[in-house]
Structure formats: structure tokens, C-alpha cells
């Protein structure tokens, strides 16, 4: 009993190894619309530069249904929801694909199209200003683990 009490008292010491794993999410400029050709994608690090899961895709795809002034912007966390490999954008099929175990996600909503992944990709909410600057605002879902 006394031993258990000591154990309980020592539990918070585990935080020693998890320092910084809950980062603060802040609105940040990630690109300008002129950096992005239609039907292409860029990779941006957000909200930190250093966390392995803070790598994301900004896609300029079909107009009308996405975010931004023309509704042609889409952004997802770039970490596969199956086993956390890093995804690539395939502009020919408007798909996001995983080179590790073959999962495929749709470019239009981040949902699973194929492969071992089951959870859809976390989406990142964007804002585009008059001058074309694109800001990441918040994430729907959890970095690295899906929606």
C-alpha cells in the first residue's frame, strides 16, 4: 500500500520525457497563392518546425468546394493515419498517397480511398487574405493520427 502511494506520487515524473509534446497552435502565414500553380501542392511545417508530425500539404485543386477566396485550397496533415509515414500529392488523380504501405486519400476531402489506413486525414483550416497570403488557422483532428 505504501509502495503504491510512492508509485502514484512518482507518476508525474513521466512528464520528464514528454516535454513539449503539446504545442501551442497559432495562426501563421504558410504561403502566398502565387507560390502555388493550379493542380499542385506544397509541403509546409506548422505549427512547429521541429515536430515529426507537424508536416502538412497545401493543395491548390478544384475550385469552388475548398477554402480560400476561390474555394480552391485544401490542406491536410501529411502524416498517414495508418502508420505515420509521410504522404505525397499525386496531381494527376487528385490523390494523396503513402509510399510505405499503399494507403490512398482523396484530395478533395482527405477521406480514405484505398489501402490499410482507416481514418481520414486531419484537415487544416485556412484563410486567404486579399493579397493572396495563406494562413493556417487550426486543425480538425490530431496531428499524426487523423480525424
Amino acid at each position: 500500500m505504501s509502495g503504491l502511494t510512492v508509485l502514484a506520487a512518482l507518476m508525474p515524473y513521466g512528464e520528464f520525457l514528454s516535454y513539449g509534446s503539446k504545442p501551442k497552435i497559432e495562426r501563421k502565414k504558410i504561403a502566398n497563392i502565387s507560390d502555388l500553380k493550379p493542380h499542385s501542392a506544397i509541403i509546409f511545417q506548422w505549427p512547429t518546425e521541429t515536430h515529426p508530425y507537424h508536416t502538412n500539404l497545401l493543395i491548390r485543386g478544384r475550385e469552388g468546394v475548398g477554402m480560400g477566396r476561390k474555394g480552391d485550397l485544401y490542406a491536410y496533415n501529411r502524416v498517414c493515419t495508418h502508420l505515420q509515414c509521410l504522404l505525397n500529392y499525386d496531381s494527376n488523380n487528385d490523390q494523396i498517397i503513402c509510399p510505405c504501405h499503399g494507403s490512398v486519400f482523396a484530395g478533395k476531402d482527405g477521406n480514405v480511398v484505398n489501402g490499410p489506413a482507416r481514418k481520414p486525414l486531419p484537415t487544416i483550416e485556412l484563410e486567404e487574405e486579399e493579397n493572396g497570403d495563406i494562413y493556417a488557422v487550426k486543425i480538425v483532428g490530431e496531428f499524426g493520427y487523423g480525424r
Binding site: Y19, S21, P99, P116
Partner: protein, 438 residues
């Protein structure tokens, strides 16, 4: 040829050393320096790899920088710039591979000899645990370079841990690439080797064989393959660059193939390997029948043979597309149909069982009864033959000095290393034939 007096003097010196060592705590005449069947001391060879890995590892630490943006460049510097850095890195890499192969062969040899029961249970189980730790140790080593393959392995490692418990993934990853590299470094150079040393102490049997020619040959072989098939640096990992299809190290391609079947992650990366290992952990408690090494039971044979076949099959499948024949060329080749995959594993196991049953019942496969001690082998050659072979080995060694291999084809980086390896191999052969002749 040895003069009679010389021989007596040598014997006396050796005797003096032996009797004095016998008073120490660990050495007490438990080491046998006689020729023995190499299959009977594969574990010792693996342990010698471990010691040499410690040595080469400490030397690599002198130049390695455990920092996520600098580690790749520091390894590249060791590989390309530091004198003998290339050799040191290749030895470290290849001895690790040797250690895994030797451990697997060691396990199966003892399995088929049924050397896991009758008071050997602790040796058997510590062996399995230390074998698993060997794989974890090599994993934490190969991610330290921080190339693209390392990053993939780290991401997948964290993903697997996340499927066990979220907190494990956080402990593994910390909050940055740098945290992750430092954690792997701490595990690789201190924590895992320390646990392994403790387990080795528990795992050492009472009789250990140290056969100098074979040990030398193993070291020579590491030099030769290190020179001929050097481990590459791979592409540096830069956050934000596109990723690509990269196959992991060979001892993880099995898990890689299992993952590509798309079955739930926890089931294929934790549960299946756990059951596989549990069978081997529990075998001493199932196989309690007395008698020395009667390998006559179909279930025993099936577990051993099917396990070996499945390890090979699943490992190869990691390198191949879904049909097991063609190499992986595109994204579509990655997904393996689970029905074919697991179906094939089950069918082969059943077929092996039926075959073993039939062959044993009809006495086509003899029920081998092994006699007590077959460690010793007859290594005596006819004296003239041994002397001729000794001369050939020595001449070969000399010829390597007269015609260094690396002067022949231009440029290749690994050739001096291969040449050193051949020289060590020749020395190993010379010591073997020298002993056989005397």
C-alpha cells in the same frame, strides 16, 4: 613444423596460464579452446560480434553527432573523409547483420537439438529475450543516420507504439526530430546494450568454446563483405521534402510485408510476432519428455521447419510486390492481399505437418537419436596435407602484399577493406591448418 622442446615449452606456458585463470571467478576452465563443431557455439560467435560492435561503436561515437540536422552529415564525414571511417562504419554495420543471422541460426540449431529443456529453460528464455533485444538494438542503430529510410523507420516505430499505448509513442518521439534522435542514441549506446550485457551473463552456459580460427574467419568475412557490399548513406532526410518507396532493413521486411496486408496494425506488428515468439518461449514446458534429443515428433518438426520457412517467406515478401515474384515498382504493388498471404502461411504449415507425420510414421525420416556430446569434431588432417594447405594459406597472404588487390581496378572504395579481410581469412586458415598439423 614444431620442434619437440618448443612444443613442451609452449604446453607448459599454456598450462601455467590455464591453472592461474582457473583461480579467477569467470574464466575457470570453462573456455575450451579446442576445435569444435561451429554449429554448437554460434551463440559465442554472436557474442563476439557484440563485443566487436561495442569497440567499433565507441570509435564511431568519436565523430558521430546525435543531432537531427547534423547526424547525416557526421555519418557522411565518417564514411567519406575520416581515415578508416569507412571501414569502421562497414564493420559496425556488417557485424550487426552477422550477429542477427548467427542468433537466428543458434536458436534453430538448439531447437532441433531440443537443448531447451531439462534445466536449460533459463538459458533458452534469456536467449530469446536477448535475441529480440538484438533486433531492437540494430533498429535504434540504423535510424541514427537520419536518412530518409531512418525517418520512415522512426515514423513507423512511433506508429506501432501508438497502437499499443499513446504514451509510448510520446515517450519515443518527444517533441521534435532532435528529441527522437537523442532518445534512439541513448537507447542504442547505453540502455539496450546494458540490459543485453546483464542477460548475456545469465545466458552464458557452463561450457564456452572459443575457437580462434573460426572467430578469425568470421572477422575476416566481415571485412570482405564490408568491402564488397558496403552499406550506403542513402538520401538525407530533410523535413518537407516528398517521401518515396523505401524498403527497410532485411530483418524488418517481414513486419513490413505483414503491414502491407492491411490487417489492423496492432494485430500484425504486436500480436502475431508475440504469439510466434511465445511458441518458442513455451516449447520447453510442452516438450518435457526425457531422453536425449529424440527429434521424432511431427509437431516439433513442424514448428521448427514452418517457423524457418515462414521467416524466409515473409522476409522475402517484404522485397516483392503482392505476387511475391515481381519487384516493387509502383504504389499499386505495395498492397498485399491478406487472404493469399495468410492463406499461404497456413497451408504451408499444414503441408509440413502432414509430410512430417507421413514420413515419420513410415520410418522414411529416421528418428535420430543423438548421442551425448557431439561438440568435438575430428579436425586432424594427414600431416603432409595440413602442411601443404598451411603453406598455401601463407603464400596467399604474402601474395596479397605483393599484388595488393586495390591496385588492380581503379577507384573502388571497399577494395582495401576486402583485401584486409582476405588476409585475415588466410590467417584464420593458417591457424586452422597449423593446429591440424600439430
Amino acid at each position: 613444423m614444431v620442434d619437440r622442446d618448443d612444443e613442451i615449452t609452449r604446453e607448459r606456458i599454456l598450462q601455467w596460464i590455464r591453472t592461474r585463470l582457473a583461480r579467477t571467478y569467470l574464466v575457470p576452465a570453462f573456455f575450451s579452446f579446442e576445435a569444435a563443431n561451429p554449429l554448437s557455439y554460434l551463440g559465442i560467435l554472436a557474442f563476439i560480434c557484440f563485443i566487436l560492435l561495442g569497440l567499433t561503436g565507441v570509435l564511431l561515437m568519436v565523430y558521430y553527432v546525435p543531432e537531427s540536422t547534423a547526424s547525416y552529415d557526421s555519418v557522411a564525414k565518417i564514411n567519406d573523409l575520416i581515415p578508416y571511417g569507412f571501414e569502421m562504419r562497414q564493420l559496425h554495420y556488417w557485424l550487426a547483420n552477422f550477429m542477427i543471422v548467427l542468433s537466428i541460426l543458434h536458436l534453430f540449431y538448439l531447437y532441433f537439438k531440443r537443448k531447451y529443456r531439462l534445466y536449460d529453460e533459463v538459458l533458452w528464455i534469456t536467449g530469446i529475450v536477448v535475441g529480440l533485444l538484438t533486433v531492437f538494438e540494430t533498429y535504434t542503430g540504423y535510424v541514427l543516420i537520419m536518412n530518409m529510410r531512418a525517418m520512415l523507420a522512426l515514423d513507423i516505430g512511433a506508429g506501432i507504439l501508438r497502437n499499443i499505448a499513446t504514451v509510448l509513442a510520446v515517450l519515443f518521439q518527444g517533441s521534435s526530430y532532435n528529441d527522437m534522435v537523442l532518445r534512439m542514441y541513448a537507447l542504442h549506446i547505453v540502455l539496450l546494450p546494458a540490459i543485453m550485457v546483464v542477460l548475456f551473463v545469465l545466458h552464458f552456459p557452463r561450457k564456452l568454446t572459443l575457437d580462434a580460427p573460426v572467430i578469425l574467419a568470421m572477422i575476416g568475412a566481415a571485412f570482405v563483405v564490408g568491402g564488397l557490399a558496403p552499406a550506403e548513406l542513402g538520401l538525407k532526410f530533410v523535413p518537407g521534402q516528398p517521401s518515396m518507396i523505401i524498403i527497410p532493413e532485411w530483418y524488418l521486411t517481414g513486419i513490413y510485408a505483414l503491414l502491407r496486408t492491411g490487417v489492423q496494425v496492432f494485430a500484425v506488428t504486436v500480436l502475431l510476432p508475440f504469439i510466434f515468439i511465445l511458441v518458442f518461449v513455451l516449447i520447453p514446458f510442452h516438450d518435457m519428455q526425457r531422453g536425449l534429443g529424440v527429434t521424432g515428433r511431427a509437431l516439433h518438426a513442424t514448428i521448427g521447419i514452418a517457423a524457418m520457412l515462414h521467416i524466409v517467406l515473409v522476409t522475402l515478401w517484404g522485397y516483392r510486390s503482392a505476387d511475391l515474384i515481381n519487384p516493387i515498382t509502383s504504389q499499386a504493388d505495395l498492397v498485399i492481399n491478406p487472404v493469399t498471404f495468410y492463406g499461404l502461411l497456413i497451408i504451408t504449415a499444414v503441408l509440413i505437418f502432414v509430410a512430417a507425420r507421413l514420413l515419420m510414421n513410415r520410418n522414411i525420416l529416421p528418428k535420430v537419436r543423438l548421442t551425448g556430446n557431439n561438440r568435438k569434431i575430428n579436425h586432424k588432417l594427414a600431416r603432409p596435407a595440413a602442411i601443404v594447405l598451411l603453406a598455401v594459406a601463407l603464400l596467399f597472404q604474402v601474395s596479397l602484399f605483393v599484388y595488393p588487390l586495390y591496385l588492380l581496378p581503379p577507384g573502388s572504395k571497399g577494395l582495401p577493406m576486402t583485401e584486409s579481410g582476405l588476409s585475415i581469412l588466410a590467417f584464420a586458415a593458417a591457424t586452422y591448418f597449423y593446429r591440424a598439423a600439430s
